[in-house]
Subunit: 111 residues, 2 copies
Amino acid sequence: MNELGTYIQTKRKEKGYSIRKLAELAEISHTEVKRIEDGMRKQTSPQVLRSIATALNCPYEDLMAAAGYIDEPAVDADATAVAGIQNADDLSQEEIDKVNEYIAFLKSQRK
Amino acid sequence: MNELGTYIQTKRKEKGYSIRKLAELAEISHTEVKRIEDGMRKQTSPQVLRSIATALNCPYEDLMAAAGYIDEPAVDADATAVAGIQNADDLSQEEIDKVNEYIAFLKSQRK
DNA sequence: AAATAGTGTTGCTTTTAGGTTACACTGATG
DNA sequence: CATCAGTGTAACCTAAAAGCAACACTATTT
């Protein structure tokens, strides 16, 4: 059982729902709910996750994160990471590409 | 052609990639790239979108948003300029300084 | 002009997400 | 005890995602 399955099953039981009840509220088949809980799905679609989130009345982002589709809805990691980079205004796409290449180079030089 | 397809095709052509080249970089089939661009896919998997984002060196969140899987990533005006810079996580201060130097250099080369 | 390599495009096949049906096991009610 | 409603589970089927192979077209090269 993976993270997504654990998350959903926990939430479901918290609310006292059966697999079939959750499926009915989410308007998907109960077998699919079971398979997702069991972790038998490699790629549950965001559409289905959205339905389940609505039915469970829990944040869709949490399900997406549990499925590994997005990062934890914490503080924007990228923004903070590049916060120190100055003078990056008004860069063309070509220049951005070069900067990215350079960053990759810098990382490769680490010992 | 839907929003996702338009976004990917535009980015692809900006970089001068052929469908096959992009597919090779993303390690997916070229036919799949074409079908996504053509909007023949109702539910392209986040996994594939992640591969394409990496290959195009563009924000994965943009593709997810274009696909309608998440809301538009709220970009504050300042961050917009550096939004295209990837792989900048985990840079040391020294490395950030070097990147800024390089950016200054790029700008000085403009005609 | 024939061979070659690149491009986009299309039909066919495989894989898998998701649904339908049916099974086995409870616990409650007549 | 027998029926009935509810539970989880497992087989089978379908539709859609994704890959494979081959096509037609163009540009370059020998």
